[in-house]
């Protein structure tokens, strides 16, 4: 359950940026290859945010599909695992172009309630 630590990381990032303002919505980007289960993050979120500036905030998770580029034939393709071969040449030397994201993308903040 490293999603608990990941979710704590989310709260840390949000609090750093919110600087005392209440967080109404958090938009996350979680890549398909990031090794994080969105449902687990959702599960942890309410527990971890309780009593913080994020208490009651809406959590929006945007999934980023995995993409790779074959090192041998340079073909680009969708890749949802680390072991799918290149569909063009069958090679496994694949550079990850997208899908490893684990980011807080945006926050909605309550400007009225400035506690800083």
């Amino acid at each position: 359950m490293h999603e608990l630590a990941i979710t704590q990381g989310i709260v840390d990032v949000c609090q750093e940026h919110a600087r005392g303002r209440r967080v109404l919505e958090v938009v996350l980007e979680i890549g398909e290859l990031a090794g994080v289960v969105p449902e687990s993050v959702e599960f942890c979120f309410s527990a971890v945010t309780s009593g913080t500036l994020l208490d009651g905030a809406r959590l929006v998770i945007q999934r980023i599909p995995g993409r790779g580029r074959c090192v041998d034939c340079r073909a680009e393709f969708g890749r949802s695992t680390y072991f799918d071969p290149c569909p063009e040449c069958g090679g496994y030397q694949v550079e990850v172009l997208a899908g490893e994201e684990l980011r807080v993308k945006e926050l909605d903040l309550d400007e009225e309630e400035d506690r800083s």
Partner: protein, 298 residues
């Protein structure tokens, strides 16, 4: 870099840094409210001639008020684009700098419980005694059993108990480092919590993640836990002395490992019989020499 903003409820925040002729640097954050045209001037020209650093905060935060239908709150959307693991990554970078400064070669050993990590460490430490100055950080949820085993080899060891935590993080490692004389170390081996999932995401500042897989486990573990086998650029296939007694195809296992991590450095070893350990030691020796030489050059 300022982003043009102006969508209905968005308030973009920007960080600015200015460098003045005298070398002083100012940073400040400001935000633009809806419809705010970007072209403001910050009239702080400082003609002072002094060398000390100072940082004053300019309160360029423009609060804004909008009507939101029946909602009484004023929402501001902020672009954050920050990695969730940014804090761990920062601390890992700091650890990496400490290791580089002292010329210490560092490995993060990961595996499922029971793969023989601790036995592999014991054997390695005994065989390398006198050749390198080693230390070990032991990560387990509970008990210091492993640290006791390592201490018996005469090597400095620090146990980290993560409690319910399923992985070590860079912060824990940083504190463990306080217990070693870093000037007296060549090789630091960090035995992570036995878990093939969670430790994959947490950089500790190591040179290499080395995954240990034993032949008493499934040969398809690289595909079952691709995150870890992709993150680890070194793999030790352990307990090869048991191959005659188990159904395990080394060929199939290595093929799957290479699918997930084509450039992996792979060792086939038995910590019990000593088979294959010399190649592992030579690889460690090259790493230790590399870390040491990097300090001399730097």
């Amino acid at each position: 870099m300022c982003i043009t903003c102006g969508c209905e409820t968005t308030g973009q925040e920007h960080g600015h840094q200015h460098r003045h002729d005298d070398g002083t640097v100012h940073s400040h954050v400001h935000s633009h409210e809806q419809g705010h045209v970007h072209g403001h001037e910050h009239g702080h020209e400082h003609g002072h001639e002094h060398g000390h650093e100072h940082g004053h905060e300019h309160g360029h935060e423009h609060g804004h008020e909008h009507e939101h239908g029946d909602a009484s709150v004023s929402r501001a959307r902020m672009t954050v684009e920050t990695d969730i693991l940014a804090r761990n990554d920062r601390l890992a970078a700091a650890n990496r700098a400490i290791f580089a400064q002292h010329g210490i070669f560092v490995l993060n050993l990961v595996s499922s419980p029971g793969s023989g990590k601790t036995t592999l460490l014991e054997r390695t430490l005994k065989d390398l005694a006198g050749r390198f100055r080693c230390a070990v950080i032991e990560g387990d949820q509970q008990t210091d059993n492993d640290a006791v085993r390592i201490a018996a080899t005469g090597v400095p060891v620090r146990q980290i108990n993560t409690g319910t935590g399923c992985h070590l993080d860079a912060h824990m490692v940083r504190h463990a480092l306080d217990h070693f004389d870093l000037h007296q170390l060549d090789l630091l081996l960090i035995e992570n919590v036995g878990n093939l999932v969670c430790p994959a995401s947490f950089d500790l500042g190591e040179h290499h993640k080395a995954v240990v897989l034993s032949v008493t486990e499934g040969e398809d573990k690289p595909l079952k836990y691709p995150q870890m086998f992709h993150a680890a650029d070194v793999m030790l296939l352990n307990k090869v002395d048991l191959l005659p007694h188990v159904e395990f195809s080394v060929e199939r296992c290595l093929e799957m490992a290479r699918r997930v991590r084509p450039d992996a450095t792979i060792f086939q070893v038995s910590a019990r019989s000593g088979a294959g350990m010399d190649a592992w030691y030579e690889w460690l020796a090259a790493g230790v020499a590399g870390a040491r030489n990097a300090v001399k050059k730097g």
